[in-house]
Symmetry: C2
Subunit: 350 residues, 2 copies
């Protein structure tokens, strides 16, 4: 006979409430829930009925504590404000779910200390593996990850000889390729609207890509006009406005991502500047927004979904004890749309 606790439970129902109601032990309830095949059909039915009657929901903390596993992964992304990480993360999550793993997402607002905090929070909540964006973070954050023996993977960035497992594309090479196309169209006076480069290796790599392309084409990279501002449409618009005050004006404004580019394109309209007739604009990321802007944005296409899927697979393997895999490089191509064209003849009114 199962133990018959006093049934004056005032709080939420627990396993033993269910056990009492079903007339079995807590062990049997636990098995009925987690390993149904080990329990008689009849018993199982009784247990399930009790679960339903009581509106029982297991206590995750207690379960994790006892079972010493959580089936939970974590991801810390810089921001949820825009859609940059949305699609990749969705694919990541979907793949994890197929393997019975829940994803917890936190955001760092591009602040290193906050990222460290969020990593700690996710560990605290039982994350068995973590997805992180880019390589830049505090030594303390890496130390914490090591001390806790948490497998982690850097995504949205692939670098030659990176010392950590990573999956992504070569930000530098992709931006260099796009810039080379811009230059090939005849543009000579270039500008870049970039996110803050401090603490953001992807932004730095993209900046370097622009410089490399200029140098390779025989242009002076020091002549690149640079506006640095946090990612947002409004900031992109403001930065674009500042660039249009330069003399001579740039004929092409490269943007560190599509959100900044959206601001640039919108601001161009407000200023009565034709894109791409007067000024060309390019983005980076190829989020949904890029295609519905007017004009539609020429941008670097990032393989969001594949990256998310691969990241999930790699982390699952690592949790299972696989050796840290080598970096996985994915291709980022160019999505050609309307916002990029040749410069105005005679270099424009600048």
């Amino acid at each position: 006979m199962p133990p018959d606790r006093t049934d004056t439970a005032p709080g939420a129902p627990t396993l033993s409430d269910v056990a009492a109601r079903a007339g079995v032990s807590t062990a049997t309830v636990s098995r009925a829930l987690n390993a149904p095949s080990q329990v008689t059909q009849a018993t199982r039915d009784r247990v399930m009925q009790a679960v339903r009657d009581l509106g029982y929901a297991p206590n995750f903390g207690a379960r994790a504590l006892a079972a010493r596993r959580t089936n939970t992964f974590g991801a810390v992304i810089p921001t949820m404000d825009n859609a940059i990480f949305a699609r990749g993360l969705q694919a990541f999550q979907d793949t994890l779910r197929e393997h019975g793993v829940t994803l917890l997402v936190a955001s760092s607002s591009y602040k290193p200390e906050q990222e460290e905090d969020q990593i700690r929070t996710l560990i605290t909540r039982g994350a068995e593996a973590l997805l992180l964006i880019g390589h830049d973070r505090t030594a303390a954050a890496y130390a914490l990850l090591d001390r806790q023996h948490i497998p982690y993977l850097v995504a949205w960035a692939w670098d030659e000889g990176a010392p950590r497992p990573c999956v992504g594309f070569d930000n530098r090479a992709a931006m260099q390729a796009l810039t080379a196309e811009v230059i090939a169209l005849g543009h000579r006076r270039l500008a870049l609207i970039t996110a803050d480069r401090a603490g953001n290796d992807r932004a730095r790599a993209r900046f370097e890509g622009v410089c490399a392309a200029m140098t390779a084409a025989g242009l002076d990279a020091r002549a690149l006009l640079v506006e640095e501002t946090p990612y947002s449409i409004a900031n992109g618009a403001a930065a674009f406005a500042r660039l249009m005050d330069a003399h001579p004006r740039p004929t092409a404004v490269l943007c560190g991502n599509d959100v900044l580019a959206a601001g640039a394109v919108t601001q161009a309209r407000a200023l009565g500047i034709d894109v791409p007739g007067d000024v060309s604009v390019t983005g980076f990321d190829d989020i949904e927004l890029a295609a519905i802007l007017t004009p539609a944005l020429t941008t670097v296409h990032v393989p969001h979904c594949e990256m998310g899927r691969r990241a999930a697979q790699m982390l699952l393997d690592m949790r299972a004890g696989a050796a840290p895999p080598p970096g996985l490089r994915l291709d980022a191509g160019i999505a050609w749309r309307a916002s990029l064209g040749p410069p105005p003849v005679a270099g424009g009114p600048g």
Copy 2:
């Protein structure tokens, strides 16, 4: 002297590892972490040093189990794919954080069974209160919430005499007001692109608002062309294309939200249809996208931030034992932009 456990801990460091290293008991470590004022400065320093040395991160589950509180709230939103809920949720989260509460977010993909699942998951993970979107959900979901004694709040919807605490705006009235303006501009042939109305009381309310405005203006609501499709830009575009095949064509296409409207506007351009010259388009929600579309979208402005803040405050009060508050009605106005104008003269080419 504190107990000196064997220090061959292979896994992540625990409280007693920290205690051993600092030369104190686990109770003292716990206090140093949670109630620093109860511990001598010297002891506290020693503990903190040990925490740092070991890379200790507390175990949330164990803590929740012992302390019987989690300081965690949950929210189940229909989707994270688009930005509809982003701003409100951000405000909700920010307000909670000010009060030391962490937010866990889950999404239901507009599926009732999945929502029930997610509610259960959040409860399982220790949510002490829940934010839900709209009133429509399974009886089982409500039963579960009651049985678990979880305070919850319905947001993004306010209804006359709703039987549950809610905070939001009157979807029906807002859509009716916008439709009345459309009609006042001279439009007579109206169409509506709406999300699936089954299981979505907001979508139904908005539909009813359109009908009510038509009836009030002496038009036959049965003449309203309705396209029902899940929220997405692509679906909005497809629905718009179908509507443009109607004879006679509608002169105004109302959309159940801004995402559908973005699809409609984009598709109009693709079809060579001028907005608002040939056809007017309106949205609902006033997300960031609305302002940067071409033409910018006339839409219903929703007080996202205030709603999020108020929701947080109400739920915090409820957790503290306050009686369920009466529904809180916020105002939703109209954001006038370029996509709405008078119908073409002579009713257009339809």
